[in-house]
Symmetry: C2
Subunit: 256 residues, 2 copies
Amino acid sequence: MRYALRGGKRLRGFLVLESAALHGISRAAALPAAAAVEALHAYSLVHDDLPCMDDDDLRRGQPTVHVRWDEATAVLAGDALQTLAFELCCDPVLGPAERRVALVAALAKASGAEGMVLGQALDIAAESAAAPLTLEEITALQAGKTGALIGFAAEAGAILAGADRLPLRAYAEAFGLAFQIADDILDVEGDPEAAGKRLGKDAGAGKATFVSLLGLERAKARAKDLVTMAELALAPYGAAAETLRDAARFAIARQS
Amino acid sequence: MRYALRGGKRLRGFLVLESAALHGISRAAALPAAAAVEALHAYSLVHDDLPCMDDDDLRRGQPTVHVRWDEATAVLAGDALQTLAFELCCDPVLGPAERRVALVAALAKASGAEGMVLGQALDIAAESAAAPLTLEEITALQAGKTGALIGFAAEAGAILAGADRLPLRAYAEAFGLAFQIADDILDVEGDPEAAGKRLGKDAGAGKATFVSLLGLERAKARAKDLVTMAELALAPYGAAAETLRDAARFAIARQS
């Protein structure tokens, strides 16, 4: 579990802390929620990398858990990381019980059969589908696979503060899609060493991606538009949301 | 997910409803907690049955999920069943937010790296250990693998009522161990059709079990003693706990 949590961008944890700061919640009072979303994300990577799923041997610059140990260990470590995520949401430092329950419910909704796991299931189903996915289908797939958890992370501060979640939800929707398009671009143009994982895989597998559907230039333009939308969604917070705007710009500028 | 939840004894869900009734909580007000423990248990069976784990092809009288579909589906269905369990614990019908958070925390503790998953990891490690487990080691292993979740189920009513959990914990510890010894006895003496799963597996694999360590007669005597201990632990509840006492007796009389 510790090994699987090593490294990574910690983008989702960062989003939790920033959205908390936006609502006057200290880093200390939001940290277990940030750790929770990182544990949840790490579990999803460990399971997605399994031979029966995406079958990856490199992640975050180190061998995947089932390569370093074995498949049973990877299944169990992922299972316990998911459990840990929900346990962390119960930490009293996060505030009143009502808010913590709302956090658990939001994390469950984002990561379960209507969120992340649905996206992953659609992704696997697509591999054996007769025709490649359409742009609409791949957008829906990614909204689950990566968007839902990014949405949870961005909204976490509002949940903990009992505040309106809609502006952060709009931000996260645009951000999450831009992030995924950037991932597809990185898969084609990126440096495997900087990325810490195998690249060129989707194109090699003939899988529909935003790049295969839109072409490289239109994909880049679309990602840029989405970042602008994400920035605009933060208007209600004024200058206080500048770091979140930076994060949206980072989503398409990153090398890993 | 629906398929994996079919059938079974629903023993854990029953324990939740009974321990709730013992604290004056209606069936309706405890049902999501009962459903949660059944979803959690179903997830653990789907993952334990995977080829990289116990590699079972029959469960609850039907093909296991990875046999009926495939391994990826089994991993994802299990993952989403775990998520569902935590989501169910947030249902407002369960009462005040404080109690629901306590329920989430207790379920996480029972099922994660200090509970059920630890037990399963010890079980897998035992397969490649140089020597068979001792009685002490197998007792610790089973306390995690099956005991922790049975403990959660028995304590759930006390958690929801904000009442003392100790008598039900003592009941569940004795019950859980008796239940597991009965499982080992069933593995040797049971009828596969009634059990709905493959039997004789542990003995065939030369795995240490309560039966291999104690012998059949001493294992039966030990299970019976534990049932008596479980019954005695319920003394504080008087006649109201008679159904839970019946459940303890059922633990060693059952055929599946």
